[in-house]
């Protein structure tokens, strides 16, 4: 087969000593950048671009892409160990990953995340090689109208994130949407809810908010007792048990699929992918009520999805020459700086580069796995630091992370505020995941709605003229209604359940 032959040629390029080394350096730097909060993959790639001027195009792009998916894995480390997401896409991993760490199962969480990342990345790469054509046609179906419907479906899932009380989950979802309203509105382009602060014009910073809600709030909760009394769980094991692996197979498969599919749609961020993967796991699980208490599925699903997303998002770059995220735009810049234009012609005109880079995705994912499994042993040593010291270091880490997202001390203040908000919400037993979900999707929703209506010049009929959009919207409505039915059917039960919780 043609594809196989091309791929073999690609491997012969990707497996040269030089390119292997570059993939290794990229993966390592990516992991480290992923661990550092605030500095995201886009900034990381941009930093490396000047270094790549002297390299050949294949090597340069191999290094940048491996850095890119390396960050997706690195972000997990701090989510699990410190409850501070190193990257936005790992925010959801805090919920169950950190809970696992508290039970002494941090090593297991990180191992499963590494394996899931590997499988997710490989899955998306296989999709790129064998199904790029049809997948691209599918991605092109997503104009503003379908995009809006997809976002609505995502938002409707928030009821699936409910703990014991649907009302509280809905309140938090709306709270997140309200936060998403901050900034320049997508209708007239005027600032809204910015309190006169220029820093809020682009919306409230996502990373500072989640760092506050998760990381800082956790520290505040721990501070209720003197730090000297804090004992973190002993590390018992690094190796997942048979049961862990059995529990992870489904989530990893679903995560691979969700991440790849959403990665194809330009404009959907990989944090949305990991969140929806989490919701999907909760829906699929026999024990949704145990999520947040250290379920391996809550780590495996999202962590697989964000890596599958990272690799899946490269598909439109190769087939259409379209950068579907800021990081990929940087990688596209690197292509162009070496005189290559990503897109269908790349395969014809520079087959060696195209296939070399694609083969390097497989290689890179293997390197990432080999690199990360032994690193886990080192990362978990962090937990041996006495909490009196660790707490200070985590705080420094968060301040640094919040600052470096957009080089602004204002974001540190935002983090502080949301630390307090998160602490209070936890005290009243409000679930935090819905806030984050709607905060991610909210801005996309309003913008795509506006675009759709600009296309139709104000007619809402446009949402039913597209079959995809219509189906997605109907599904969204069903998702929203389903728990309401449950609520009415056994309203009293839900209410008393809530009372127990509070």
């Amino acid at each position: 087969m043609d594809v196989i032959q091309n791929l073999l040629m690609g491997f012969s390029i990707a497996l040269t000593a030089q390119n292997l080394l570059l993939a290794f350096i990229g993966s390592l730097l990516g992991t480290l950048i992923g661990v550092l909060p605030g500095i995201g993959p886009a900034a990381g790639c941009a930093m490396l671009i000047p270094l790549t001027f002297q390299m050949g195009p294949t090597g340069a792009i191999i290094m940048l892409t491996s850095l890119f998916y390396g960050t997706q894995y690195g972000g997990t480390v701090t989510s699990v160990l410190m409850n501070v997401p190193g990257e936005a896409s790992s925010a959801i991993t805090c919920l169950d990953g950190y809970a696992m760490a508290k039970q002494g199962r941090a090593g297991v969480a990180l191992s499963i995340a590494a394996i899931g990342s590997f499988i997710g990345g490989t899955f998306a790469t296989i999709a790129l090689v064998f199904a790029a054509g049809p997948l691209t046609r599918w991605a092109l179906e997503f104009g503003p109208v379908e995009f809006f419907a997809l976002i609505m479906l995502g938002i409707s899932m928030l009821t699936g994130l409910a703990g014991k009380s649907v009302i509280k989950a809905l309140m938090m979802g709306i709270f997140g949407l309200a936060l998403a309203m901050i900034g320049i509105d997508p209708i007239r382009g005027a600032p809204r809810f910015t309190f006169g602060r220029v820093e809020l014009m682009d919306g409230i910073g996502f990373v500072p908010v989640i760092m506050g809600l998760f990381g800082l709030a956790e520290i505040l909760e721990n501070a209720e007792r003197p730090f000297a009394q804090m004992v973190l769980a002993r590390m018992s094991t690094l190796i997942p048990t048979r049961q862990d692996i059995r529990d992870s197979v489904g989530p990893i498969l679903r995560g691979s699929f969700i991440g790849t599919a959403l990665g194809l749609v330009p404009g959907i961020t990989n944090s949305a992918s990991s969140f929806l993967a989490y919701v999907a796991e909760k829906k699929a699980s026999k024990h949704p009520e145990l999520f947040g208490t250290g379920m391996i599925a809550g780590v495996a699903g999202p962590e697989t999805a964000n890596n599958a997303h990272a690799n899946g998002a490269l598909i439109p770059l190769f087939t259409l020459g379209i950068p579907s995220s800021p990081t990929i735009a940087v990688i596209m810049g690197a292509f162009m700086m070496h005189g290559l234009i990503p897109g269908p012609l790349l395969f014809k005109e520079h087959a060696d580069v195209a296939w070399g880079v694609i083969a390097s995705f497989y290689v890179g994912n293997v390197i990432l796995l080999i690199l990360n499994l032994p690193l886990i042993g080192i990362w978990v040593q962090i937990l041996k630091i006495p909490y009196g010291i660790l707490c200070g270091i985590i705080m420094a880490f968060m301040i640094l992370g919040a600052y470096s997202v957009s080089n602004s001390a204002f974001d540190v203040a935002v983090m502080t505020l949301f630390g307090l908000v998160g602490y209070l919400l936890r005290k009243f037993d409000f679930p935090l995941a819905p806030v984050v979900l709607t905060l991610i999707l909210g801005p996309l929703m309003e913008r795509s709605l506006r675009q759709s209506l600009e296309i139709s010049q104000g007619s809402f009929g446009i949402f039913f003229s597209s079959p995809i959009a219509a189906v997605l919207l109907v599904l969204a409505v069903l998702f929203l209604i389903a728990p309401a039915f449950k609520f009415f059917r056994k309203g009293k039960v839900v209410m008393s359940g809530d009372a127990e919780a509070a």
Partner: protein, 159 residues
């Protein structure tokens, strides 16, 4: 003992009232092409208000003894929590004046020595690493220029 929950519910109601008031008065509700800037905030406020009222009724109806879940931290805990919040806020406010290195150094001293009860040596070493060390590593290798002091006499000292 419904009081705390009722106060929390009232906070949500206040927030929802603010959303509705602000979006109704200062934003366009509808445009020829569909919802305006104020449309979503208004309805979000309304929904939040509705849910807040339901929650308020729920918590007010409960019998007192199911409220145990919400425990206020002891006085010492409240002091620690507030001191952490105030000190992070101080870092964000002072970073641009004192420079990252000095602000972070002082913050770390506070966190490690006063809250963490570490010895002075551990404290100073880690504080230096997190302030001076981080400043230089980030500036040199990561292209993140952390703020330098804007007060001239501190800037002269290289902070």
């Amino acid at each position: 003992m419904h009081r705390k929950h009722q106060i929390a519910a009232l906070c949500f109601l206040a927030f929802s009232a603010y959303l509705m008031w602000e979006s109704w008065n200062n934003m366009e509700y509808y445009t020829p092409l569909g919802p305006g800037a104020g449309f979503f905030p208004f309805w979000l406020g309304a929904l939040l208000g509705g849910l807040g009222i339901v929650w308020l009724i729920q918590v007010s109806r409960r019998s007192g003894n199911t409220e145990e879940g919400l425990s206020l931290p002891p006085r010492g805990g409240i002091v620690r929590i507030l001191s952490i919040l105030v000190s992070v806020a101080a870092v964000s406010a002072l970073m641009d004046f004192l420079g990252f290195q000095l602000a972070m150094f002082l913050f770390m001293i506070f966190m490690l020595m006063i809250l963490g009860r570490q010895t002075i040596w551990t404290t100073v070493i880690i504080a230096l690493m997190c302030s001076v060390g981080v400043y230089h590593v980030f500036g040199r290798y990561l292209d993140v220029q952390l703020p330098a002091a804007s007060l001239a006499f501190l800037a002269r000292l290289g902070l």
